[in-house]
């Protein structure tokens, strides 16, 4: 099987001293980032991109570092969910429901062990899914022309608000903002400056790394300043031995496997991502197994299900990002930014032109996953202690690392000022409940989207009907329309269910 041969080559790329070291550092940092409330996978990866970029890592090495952080964050989120009843990141919300009750019953160690193993199962199976599904998707994507790509980008934006979105208008407004920002700078096809107001700094356009770090990381600092002293973390962290008996693990295995499948599918589909993956995994497991009404009171299966689900979704979300170049979630959008900043265009050609990057990355995911389970079982006590770093020391560090990273790219004060502007914009948009991910996606994909539209219409001599010339593009447009309209119909119900689940857990989530 040539997929397995490629994967073998990937391992040859990944197993070097440097790459293994980077994977280890990434796993460690990722777990910490996931565990710390206020630093999620997307802003954690975001502040590290400019750093890996200015440190001059090559493409494979940078990707290995950052995807290890991504997988690590999915492991780390559960720690504060279980011990403090505060989700370390958005996807770990569901883990609080049964994890915290277990911790209060003195079974924190057991809950951490089960969730760690569930995370491993979810990631491991999902990475295999990525190995086999991504090349198939690539075969489809090779049939795409410019018109199909334009439709695909539209589909990505239309579904980005997600199935749980209540206000599609705001998601679309956010996308328009991002696309509008992407237009700033010299037009790639005719060479005329656009929206640059005669400022030379703007001729190259807005650097998307600056936009991402400002929107995600600095806005978080502002949120903490706004809410300082309102939800201080108190709590003694006593864990006990982080082990689970075989019988409990066997008891949880069906839950883990079912949740892995659900999570993976949720991850691959556009507009879902890890948060919805863990929610759907928990909800369906509750429907299937909650005969004695033990869910929500410390059922180990209620810990296993969402953790397997969110880790599997994280792996699944890499499929469209790598194969099509179209990310479906915030963190994969950030990973796309990594690729673009390294001058690598993801999509089907990535697999033929840079097989070493793709397969090295996938091999690194397997390695990282084993490192993470090895790290997370015995060292969980260490990570738990990191949780107690108070925000008055953490957030200044986050802000300063953001500044260092952006300054490191060009040594430009102008970039820093633009980043602050994006930080303020991010705060205002978050207050108004406008999602940030479509803004990022717009900034990232705007130029490619325009280029494909113009290419398609150049081929057809300006005939707009060319956008709908093939069954494939018609199908994509139909999906885009359905994906945009469906949440308006069912979104309110789903959103209120998630909100209710969060309220039951008594957590504060932005």
């Amino acid at each position: 099987m040539d997929v397995l041969t490629s994967l073998g080559h990937g391992f040859a790329v990944a197993i070097t001293f440097e790459n293994l070291g980077l994977a280890l550092i990434g796993c460690l940092l990722g777990t910490i980032i996931g565990a710390l409330p206020g630093l999620g996978p997307s802003n954690g990866v975001a502040i590290l991109i400019p750093l890996s970029f200015s440190l001059g890592l090559d493409a494979t090495a940078a990707l290995i570092l950052l995807t290890s952080v991504y997988y690590g964050a999915m492991y780390g989120g559960r720690i504060s969910s279980i011990l403090l009843n505060i989700p370390g990141d958005e996807p770990a919300v569901m883990t609080t429901l049964d994890g915290y009750p277990m911790a209060r019953a003195g079974k924190a160690g057991e809950a951490l062990a089960i969730s760690g193993i569930a995370s491993f199962v979810g990631s491991f199976v999902a990475t295999w899914g990525l190995v086999f599904l991504a090349p198939q998707l690539v075969k489809v994507a090779l049939l795409f022309g410019p018109a199909e790509y334009f439709a695909l980008f539209t589909l990505a934006f239309a579904t980005l608000g997600g199935i749980s979105s209540t206000n599609q208008a705001k998601a679309a407004l956010a996308a328009a903002l991002g696309l509008g920002i992407a237009m700033i700078g010299v037009d790639g096809q005719t060479g005329v400056p656009r929206f640059s107001f005669g400022m030379v700094h703007l001729y190259d356009g807005v650097n998307f790394l600056v936009a991402i770090v400002g929107l995600f990381a600095l806005s978080e600092v502002f949120i903490f300043l706004e809410h300082r002293g309102e939800n201080a973390v108190h709590g003694s962290v006593s864990i006990g031995r982080p082990v689970a008996s075989w019988s409990v693990l066997k008891y949880c295995t069906p839950a883990m496997l079912r949740s892995t499948v659900i999570g993976f599918i949720a991850g691959v589909l556009p507009g879902a991502g890890a948060s919805l993956g863990s929610f759907m995994a928990y909800a369906s497991e509750k429907n299937i197994s909650d005969k004695d009404k033990t869910f929500g009171k410390g059922d180990p299966r209620g810990v296993a299900a969402p953790e397997a689900g969110n880790n599997a979704a994280a792996g699944g979300a890499l499929v469209p990002m790598l194969a099509l170049g179209v990310p479906g979630s915030g963190t994969t959008a950030v990973l796309l930014a990594v690729l673009l900043s390294l001058n690598i265009t993801p999509g089907p050609l990535l697999f033929t032109q840079h097989p070493d990057v793709v397969w090295g990355l996938i091999a690194a995911l397997f390695i990282a996953n084993f490192m993470l389970i090895a790290m997370n079982l015995p060292l969980v006590g260490l990570f738990a202690r990191v949780l107690l770093i108070p925000p008055q020391f953490l957030m200044p560090l986050v802000a300063m690392i953001s500044f260092v990273g952006i300054y490191g790219i060009n040594g430009s004060t102008f970039d820093l000022l633009v980043m602050v502007i994006f930080g303020v914009l991010g705060w205002v948009l978050r207050k108004l409940d406008v999602p940030l991910v479509p803004v990022i996606m717009g900034v990232l994909l705007g130029n490619q989207m325009e280029a494909n539209l113009r290419r398609a219409l150049t081929i057809s001599n300006g005939e707009w009907g060319a956008l709908l010339h093939s069954p494939l593009s018609i199908g994509l447009w139909v999906l885009a329309v359905v994906g945009f309209v469906l949440p308006i119909v069912v979104g309110k119900r789903l959103k209120s269910r998630i909100a209710r689940a969060k309220e039951e857990a008594g957590t504060l989530v932005d």
Binding site: Q189, Q392, L453
Partner: protein, 143 residues
């Protein structure tokens, strides 16, 4: 102050955007759409979505009290000042002052905040500059 303001600002922005797009200079050879076409579509989308938000607003968010809002404005001012003075003051001094300020405003006692500022600046300098070789702003003192 909420979605109605957002919608109005969005509409204004859309109008300004389309106006600016119409003033883009076209070169004599161009593709069928040219450099203006896609910006016009985006401007239209922005106008439509702003109108939708304006007509069907969500309940307004909880804005911070004026004192807290002033706090945020001060934080932005510190960040801007940091960006402007960084090349002259050098990385360590600028970062120590800025992070001490943030630490203090996030609730640390003054002495602890000052220590945190020095520790954060020193730590980043040690890890990113000395260990990893990243270029940081050099001040008159060389760090």
């Amino acid at each position: 102050m909420g979605d109605r303001a957002l919608g109005s600002v969005g509409l204004g922005l859309a109008a300004a955007y389309v106006w600016q797009a119409s003033r883009i200079q076209e070169s004599f050879i161009s593709d069928p759409i040219g450099p203006k076409g896609f910006p016009f579509i985006i401007g239209g989308l922005l106008a439509l979505t702003s109108l939708a938000v304006l007509l069907r607003p969500d309940p307004p968010p909880h804005w911070p009290r004026p004192a807290r809002l002033l706090e945020l404005v001060a934080a932005v001012a510190v960040m801007v000042a940091y960006a402007l003075f960084l090349p002259d003051a050098g990385f360590v001094i600028a970062t120590a002052i800025a992070s001490a300020y943030f630490s203090w405003r996030l609730g640390a006692p003054a002495m602890q905040a000052a220590l945190a500022g020095v520790a954060i600046a020193g730590g980043i300098y040690l890890v990113f500059h000395l260990a990893l070789g990243l270029n940081l702003a050099k001040g008159p003192l060389g760090f």
